[in-house]
């Protein structure tokens, strides 16, 4: 395991060291992927955008002034790319697209149904839910990363799990 700091790895990546950047990918891919999943609500889209974010990070690593901030920087890139993708899709549709599908999805069982129900949550509820349950972050960390209060996180999580329950109940896929 590479013991170098993010700052050293970012500098080496700037010099064209792919191995160093691969270590950064190993360290920071998960939060990048989960923020994409939280915004987009779809695993395949999240995977594509997370890869795009990582590639952009490699291309633009020279713009990062403080390499020790690589984690927050690359997550911000991923989040912006995800939001841009949602906007593009809304623009392409030439009509406001709700955060959740209008038509109820065909009922699916198990993880697939739950994943689908998570995708149907509004984005501002989905992101804290993903960070809390999928990434195992505590409420305080989620609050810091989303720049909201802990009570705000609790409120979103409470609303999210209640709505998720309603969606799953409507799908006939109650856990």
């Amino acid at each position: 395991m590479d013991e170098r700091s993010d700052k050293e790895l970012a500098w080496a990546s700037h010099q064209g060291d792919r191995t160093a950047y691969a270590v950064l990918v190993q360290r920071h891919y998960k939060p990048v992927f989960l923020v994409c999943l939280g915004v987009l609500g779809n695993v395949h889209d999240a995977e594509d955008v997370a890869q795009e974010a990582m590639i952009k990070g490699f291309e633009r690593v020279c713009q990062l002034r403080d390499g020790s901030q690589f984690g927050g920087w690359i997550v911000a890139i991923a989040r912006n790319l995800s939001i841009n993708l949602l906007r593009k899709r809304k623009t392409a549709a030439k009509a406001p697209v709700p955060d959740r599908p209008l038509e109820p999805q065909r009922a699916k069982s198990g993880h697939e149904g739950l994943q689908q129900a998570v995708a149907r949550l509004p984005r501002d509820l989905r992101l804290p839910l993903v960070m809390y349950y999928f990434d195992g972050q505590d409420v305080k960390t989620v609050a810091e990363k989303l720049a909201i209060s802990t009570s705000g996180v609790y409120l979103r999580l409470r609303t999210a799990i209640k709505e998720l329950h309603e969606i799953l109940t409507a799908q006939g896929d109650t856990p």
């Binding site: 691969a22 990918v25 190993q26 590639i55 490699f58 291309e59 999928f134 109650t174």
Partner: protein, 251 residues
Amino acid sequence: MNRPCPQMQDKVADYVLGALDTQQAQALQEHLGGCEACRQYARSLQEQAQSLVALGQRLEADMEARRDRVIEALQDVSPAETDTRRIFPSVGGILRISVAAVLVLGAGVIIGRATAPRPVDVEQLRADLQASIVASLKPAVQETVLAEVDRCLESGLAANEANLRNELAEQLRGDLQLFATQFAAGSDRRMDKRFAEFVQLIEEARLKDRQQVAKALDRIEQNRVLDKTQIRTGLQYVAALTTKATPATQH
């Protein structure tokens, strides 16, 4: 499944999130003990939370494969290429702007020459130009000279500030003394005048008193003369009476 109590749904959700304190959790558990619908709702939310954690673990299990795909995709790009792409468009942009500027300037020159008026009288042009320059520069020169004078004055004032202060203090002191002297002299004159007026008033009063005293003395004298005459008349009358009575007494 029966609907859970509407007022308890938030508390059940908070309970699942671990957001209730001991007392609140105990109160909720007491409610759950007697409410089947809420108990089922709480169980369902807890199972849902466990499913979410399990889904996160499943996603985590696939994370390594995703990382590998990203690292594989990175083989086709490099920061250097990115830098090159970032620099060259800028250079291209500068070149495009430069070429456009040259073209615009060249077109301007050509149009200017084509539309330029015929040669004019050089002397007249020189005189006009001189007058124009003088007219245009005069205010600026005046302003510059004024600014220079102000600056010189300011610097001179700053340099001689102490001397000026002393001189001003001396002058102020002299002025105050002169004023005090003039004020005192004026004050004396006013006092003399007032005193003379006062003496005159006293003299007038004394004169008036004398006149009144003289009048009074005249009246007293007249009264005295009158009294004397009356006394003399009375005495003569008494003497006459006395003369008449004496012979009778002798008899």
